[in-house]
Subunit: 157 residues, 2 copies
DNA sequence: AGAGGCGATGTTATACTATATCAACCCCGA
DNA sequence: TCGGGGTTGATATAGTATAACATCGCCTCT
């Protein structure tokens, strides 16, 4: 995986790609890709942005797919635990995975203005593994998140 | 700064060191190192652990230093914004800075069993800067947190 | 001394994020 | 037909964080 940026691109493609990758993996592994789960993934894929659980819940509610917090959190837990989405700790929010299927240890670049999220190189993770090894620490999960300005918002400012 | 570990050490020293470093910096910069702020820093320094704002508030309350959430949050905001403490996003918690005074971009190693927090090497940050530069992204703040098992808890398990 | 400003604190209320719990349902296989 | 596993529905509550406004103490300027 190489650093990806904030280039514009055919976004229908992202959505179709993301959903069908998830569909395929669920079929393979005998997981249930239910309507709520599918819809939550679509909502996340519609933007390369971080969305709060309650933002998503609002959409679900408007569409009659569920109206209580656990509905959103369950779907998000499913997506995150199977690698179809990521949790952004810094924002207590969620974003669709940009590399569905790839076994990866993502680092995120989060724009504080437009909330766009990009998945960057795994190099920082390699360095973190090295530092941990030296300290005798066993990493089970790593959070690497940079917050700042994306190219577009830099230019606008 | 080099990777630090989980070695045992003279802990009185940590506390005295941390408090006096903060005291000195506040004097230099004309900041008010008030009783609540000092006490919160001490509480954090008493353990190399992440503590939630409400954990801290409980202690303050028991000591008559304040009983409402804003009291704790204000003190923590002060400490974090001046580099005397760090926020651990992964845990929604706080820990005293292990290198008071050093201008640093910390990476944390967080034990999920004992909640001990170590500040590790800055190398991952350098890699993150590199990835961001390639993407045209301007980093304003970075969160690098690894969660797992510290040497002691690994041995115990 | 008095007026005004500033930062810190006290207090109340509320917003936002997340999970526990239990009941109901559905599909599938024994 | 029965039972089990996983999903969903619904209520309640836990945990984290901030808005807003009043007050106070201290410093400074006049």
């Amino acid at each position: 995986m190489h650093p990806i940026g904030f280039e514009s691109h055919d976004h229908r493609h992202c959505i179709a790609e993301g959903v069908s990758a998830a569909e395929a993996r669920c079929a393979e592994e005998g997981l249930q890709f239910t309507p709520v789960r599918r819809r939550v993934l679509e909502i996340l894929l519609e933007q390369h942005r971080a969305m709060g659980a309650y933002d998503i819940l609002e959409v679900l509610r408007a569409e009659g797919l569920g109206s209580q917090p656990p509905v959103a959190y369950r779907a998000l837990d499913f997506l995150v635990s199977h690698g179809f989405a990521h949790r952004i700790e810094r924002l207590n929010a969620f974003t669709a995975c940009a590399y569905p299927g790839a076994d990866h240890a993502p680092a995120f670049l989060i724009c504080r203005l437009c909330r766009t999220v990009a998945e960057a190189s795994a190099a920082p993770r390699a360095q973190l593994d090295k530092a941990a090894a030296e300290a005798g620490f066993l990493i089970e999960r790593a959070v690497i998140e940079a917050e700042g300005l994306c190219p577009d918002c830099r230019n606008a400012a």
